[in-house]
Every structure is written in structure tokens, then in C-alpha cells.
């Protein structure tokens, strides 16, 4: 878990061993998860043994702990960064196409869940207005433009803006695409949160 405001830490791990491997990156200041965050793109390492020059401390260290392959996926929508999702494997080898697709889908779902946690007024996940960021919006460009507009309106971050739009869609029981269209058409505007 990394955020733009400087939060660093492991948010969730499947078991204590991977939690420890995750923490190592923060400790050592290098690793695939940090690279994925900085470069805003996945870092897919099928064989860690090839990457010793890239991460001279991290690669041997996790190799000692039995990790052979790492796949890091940024949790992001454009400029909104919510963290990185890492998959570790104890055998070298590429992710299959299916596993890659699954990981990318999982990352999308995680982004939505993290966005919804940002606001207390957000309804439960899977409610009637629940609408996947990726699949549910016909004109995706419009949704991203709407996020940019709302960011200026609320004078907050792009992450806040994305979360506000989702919370509004839940509360009004409308689809994200609908709400985005109204925002871009300037028929709907948001106010800054009161302190």
C-alpha cells in the first residue's frame, strides 16, 4: 500500500510470509512494488534471478526466502494512485494469459473497493448503483474527464473526486456513466467538503 500523500505500509497479505516479503521493500527502499508505483505500470518479473542488477539488495534477499517470481500491479485510475497489488510465486515462470487477465481484473476491483472506503457515505458494495469502473461505463473518457472537473470543483485530489462521484452515484441510485455525462455537460457540480 502506497499513496500519494506518503502513506507506506502493507495493507493486506494472504499469509505472514508474504507480508514479511512485502515489508522488505519498504525497509530496503527498492523492489518491484515501488517501481510499479513510480512508473505507474505493472512490473512483471518471471524470474527474480535475472534482476539482481535492478534490485541488488532486494532480489537476493527475497530469493533467500523462497520467492522466485514477482508480479506487481499498480492500483490506479489515471493519476489517482491507491497502492500496488503484488503476487509472489515460489517458482520462476511467466503468468499465463488467464492469470494476467485475472490479476488485472482483481486490481480494478481493488481500486473500486479502496475508492469506496474513502467516503463514509458510500453505500454497500454491490448495491443497485454498483457499476464497474471498467465495464459499466459506455464512454469511459467521459468518466475520467468528469473526475478532472470534480477535482477542480471540490479543490481536492483526483482520488477524492473519483470517490465523490461514486458516492453520489450510489446515493442517487444512478449509473456512473449517467452522472459523468451530467458533470461534463456542466449540469451537475460538486461543492468542496466542509472542514
Amino acid at each position: 500500500m502506497l499513496t500519494d500523500d506518503g502513506t507506506r505500509g502493507v495493507y493486506a497479505a494472504s499469509d505472514p510470509a508474504s507480508e514479511h516479503v512485502e515489508e522488505l521493500q519498504f525497509l530496503l527502499g527498492e523492489g518491484p512494488c515501488l517501481d510499479a508505483f513510480d512508473r505507474r505500470q505493472p512490473v512483471l518479473i518471471a524470474d527474480l534471478a535475472d534482476e539482481v542488477t535492478r534490485w541488488p539488495v532486494y532480489a537476493p534477499e527475497v530469493h533467500d526466502r523462497g520467492v522466485r517470481a514477482v508480479f506487481a500491479f499498480p492500483l490506479q485510475i489515471g493519476a489517482a494512485r491507491l497502492g500496488v497489488f503484488d503476487v509472489f510465486r515460489d517458482q520462476a515462470g511467466r503468468l499465463s494469459e488467464q492469470h494476467l487477465t485475472d490479476a488485472l481484473c482483481f486490481a480494478d476491483v481493488a481500486v473500486e473497493a479502496l475508492l469506496d472506503r474513502q467516503r463514509e457515505d458510500t453505500g454497500t458494495l454491490g448495491g443497485p448503483a454498483y457499476d464497474s469502473v471498467i465495464d459499466g461505463v459506455g464512454n469511459r473518457a467521459e468518466l475520467f474527464q468528469a473526475q478532472g472537473m470534480v477535482m477542480v470543483q471540490i479543490q481536492g485530489s483526483i482520488t477524492d473526486a473519483a470517490a465523490r462521484i461514486r458516492a453520489y452515484a450510489y446515493a442517487e441510485n444512478r449509473s456512473l456513466g449517467d452522472v459523468a455525462r451530467d458533470i461534463v455537460a456542466r449540469n451537475l457540480r460538486f461543492e468542496a467538503d466542509r472542514p
Binding site: R40, G78, A79, Q147, G148
Partner: protein, 241 residues
């Protein structure tokens, strides 16, 4: 679309080579490529789409706004020349839109209504993989490609695909996936920046894009970098806020 001028083609490749040697902005580059392709073949509009990790196409760049709407329309209706070129890996050449209603019942009438009469699509290929498609629209009757034009436009599509491997680590098969995901996310950052500038300056999102692009060019900065600064950095140049 008559046979292309060898001189103009050569100058495009020089421009491409010139861009690819130094650090460059992929999305700006793809916009440039769609502009030049439209110019070269006398097409009314050219659009470019890339596939995400799930095999869905996403709009990346286009020579004008009409083409963007048509590309998005293809994505929504799941039919059209781009999707066909992407699925089959083969170019779609010289399709007369007025006679293509049975092939694309939703897309063909919509494209005709937008003012286009013919359409072509070329797969973006990298080794054995198809990673997107380049769409070329014509607006004059008889605007057909000659046999000699086809490999030339295909080569421009191939250039677009190669540009994706910015870091040139062809060694790793994963590099392409990494770059592709990064490029798709950059496109989202640009849309977010367009929204921010459009609202702050009370202009259309298209006008906002022109302003961001001009600013980046005039200041010799990368398009994505400027877009990112607009969305994340409070010290964005006042011209853009």
C-alpha cells in the same frame, strides 16, 4: 487516396526516427502518427486503438474529434473495421460504407451519417501478437487504396506498435504488457487533465486538449508529464488553470 508520395513518406519516417531516439511521449507520438497518416493518404480522418490486458480495445489517438466518437461507437456496439482488423490480424481494405450495412449494421450507417464514405483498418502487430488497430476513413467517392498503398499504411501501423516498446527490452516478453498498461493509464491521466482544464477555463474538453498539447510543445515537455502535473501538482502553470 492516390498512391502516396515517396518524399512525404520518407519525411514521416525521419520524423518518427527523430522522435524515437530520445525520450518521447507515447500518446503525443501516436497523435502525430495519426495526423501524418491522414495527411499522407489524403484520408479524412485516422484513429488508433490499443487493446488492454483483457483484449478490449481502447481509443488512444485520432486525427480529429469525429473519428474519436466513431471509434468509441465501435467499442460500444462491438462491431466495425477496427475490431475486425484486431480480431483477425488482417487489414480491412476499401470498404464502401454505403454498401456495408449488412457487415456492420450499426457502425456503417453511423459512419456514413458522420460524413465518411470509405473505411480501412490495419492491425497493429508486434511479432505474433496483435495489440490494436489503425482506422483510416475517407470522405470522397472512389477514395480507394491502390495495391501499393496497403503495405505503406501497414508499415505506419507497425511503427506505432514498435513505439510501444520504449525501453527496448525485447528480451522480456512481459515488457510489452507493462508498457501497454502504462500507456492506457497515461491516456486516462490525459482525460482527467482535460476535464480539469475544461472546467477551470470554461472551455470544451476538446479545446482543453489543444491547450494542454500546445503548452507541452511550446515548453518542450512531454504531454503525459504536463497532464500529470495538472492533475497532481498544485504548482501547475497558471495558463492551464
Amino acid at each position: 487516396m492516390t498512391t502516396v508520395s515517396a518524399q512525404r513518406l520518407a519525411s514521416i519516417f525521419v520524423e518518427v526516427a527523430d522522435t524515437l531516439v530520445e525520450e518521447f511521449d507515447l500518446i503525443d507520438f501516436l497523435h502525430m502518427l495519426t495526423d501524418r497518416t491522414a495527411d499522407l493518404v489524403g484520408a479524412a480522418a485516422v484513429g488508433l486503438m490499443l487493446a488492454d490486458g483483457r483484449g478490449n480495445l481502447e481509443y488512444m489517438a485520432g486525427s480529429d474529434e469525429n473519428v474519436k466518437l466513431l471509434e468509441l461507437f465501435q467499442l460500444q456496439t462491438r462491431e466495425g473495421p477496427c475490431l475486425e482488423a484486431y480480431r483477425t490480424g488482417h487489414p480491412v481494405i476499401n470498404v464502401d460504407l454505403s454498401a456495408a450495412t449488412s457487415r456492420w449494421p450499426l457502425f456503417a450507417p453511423r459512419a456514413t451519417a458522420t460524413g465518411f464514405q470509405s473505411v480501412h483498418a490495419f492491425p497493429l502487430r508486434l511479432r505474433s501478437q496483435v495489440i490494436g488497430a489503425l482506422n483510416v476513413f475517407g470522405d470522397t467517392k472512389g477514395g480507394d487504396f491502390s495495391g501499393a498503398d496497403v503495405p505503406i499504411v501497414q508499415s505506419l501501423a507497425d511503427v506505432a506498435a514498435i513505439a510501444l516498446l520504449q525501453e527496448r527490452s525485447l528480451r522480456r516478453g512481459e515488457a510489452l504488457t507493462e508498457q501497454l498498461q502504462g500507456a492506457l493509464n497515461s491516456r486516462i491521466i490525459i482525460e482527467q487533465a482535460k476535464g480539469a482544464v475544461a472546467y477551470a477555463q470554461a472551455v470544451s474538453v476538446d479545446e482543453a486538449f489543444t491547450r494542454i498539447r500546445n503548452y507541452a510543445r511550446n515548453h518542450h515537455r512531454k504531454l503525459t508529464e504536463v497532464a500529470q502535473a495538472i492533475v497532481t501538482d498544485r504548482t501547475t502553470p497558471p495558463e492551464l488553470h
